[in-house]
């Protein structure tokens, strides 16, 4: 045992439940739940099929960076072959469509709405890596109820009730929404 063992996290194989969009298991560094004090949240896995990754616009109170590169890091350029549609904006009612056909990094400033993200065409597996500057995942989404009231719902890992078992909390396991993997 070393004094600094606690700063090392060996990736565990986490099941994805993505309906085939992701490999059966993925490596995901989920911030504080992996290493005490960690301030970053990011995955290591490739998208294997086209489809909607993130169906709803949302924002974070922290910066996020979205990397879209090829799956094979021996060459992130030649292993990239995809077309992705993504929406971005400061106002959820006035977002702009961005089409990605080359390896890019997108900076999503604090409070900027982003999503949906959709892989329209996938020629090769895609390394889509959202890098969130926070110790755990949270996303804020605009909602309305039947009385016409608008509010902002926050989905927070470890606090929001699980959709399938309200005695448990959300861990972004993906079981409730196979296409939504928590970007």
């Amino acid at each position: 045992m070393g004094e600094y063992d606690w700063l090392f996290y060996k990736f565990e194989k986490k099941e994805t439940h993505s309906g085939g969009m992701l490999p059966p298991v993925q490596a995901y560094f989920r911030g504080e739940s992996c290493i005490s004090g960690a301030q970053i949240y990011l995955p290591y896995r490739a998208y294997m099929e086209s489809g909607v990754i993130d169906p709803e616009p949302h924002f974070h109170r922290d910066e996020e960076y979205l990397a879209f590169v090829g799956h094979d890091l021996r060459n992130a350029f030649t292993s990239f072959d995809a077309e992705i549609e993504m929406w971005l904006g400061e106002d959820p009612d006035n977002m702009e469509k961005i089409i990605i056909t080359k390896p890019v990094m997108i900076r999503v400033p604090q409070f900027y709405w982003h999503g949906p993200v959709e892989i329209k065409r996938l020629g090769k597996p895609l390394f889509f890596q959202p890098v969130l500057f926070n110790s755990r995942y949270h996303a804020i989404k605009k909602r309305g109820d039947s009385s016409g009231k608008t509010y902002f719902e926050t989905i927070v890992e470890g606090i929001t009730p699980c959709k399938l078992d309200d005695s448990d909390v959300c861990t972004f396991c993906g079981k409730c929404n196979e296409a939504h993997t928590g970007s």
Partner: protein
Amino acid sequence: MSRYDHLIHEFEKQYNYWGDFMPPYQAYFRGHDCMPDSNLYASYRCYMKEAFIDIWPNFHSEEEYLCFTGYDMVDPWGSFDAEIEFWIGKELDKLEKHIITEPTIVRIPPYTWHCPLEYKRVTKPVYLQVLSMRGKFGAFFQRTDADAKIYIEYVGSKGHKSCSLDASKQCTFCGKCFKGALPSDSPKTATEAAERYKK
């Protein structure tokens, strides 16, 4: 043209001259050099062979994460087969050795010494992702001047390190100077480098 073009960086092929342990070019998001006001520094490239380039312990004033996985994001475990030696510690003379043989991420808190880092065995290319939460990369090293005075040198990516081969230019970490810049008495292994700091 989009209102948000300034938030989109198309990766350019950054050519490497470090040696044949790196691919000829890489994708590297170098914070402000790629996008003004950004706060991330992140690499997207592999180490292809055994290598020892991060010789000297250093620290940063912000968090850094070093992630070691296999080269293929389809299977980060199955594409990993390597042994990496890495040293870390709060005190330079009490660095602790860690051997990494499985996909691992390391959190390096601010002001924590880390390195040397040596790729001792690379059977399959290793994806090292450097993640710094600051747009301008900067590292601090312990040095000794000609008068035997010990000081902490700051080496930064913005105006605080000139090119070793052309002082009129800024260092871009291209690696061209790497082999020529090493003194003949440089340590040959990570263990040898770390032990030079022990009292």
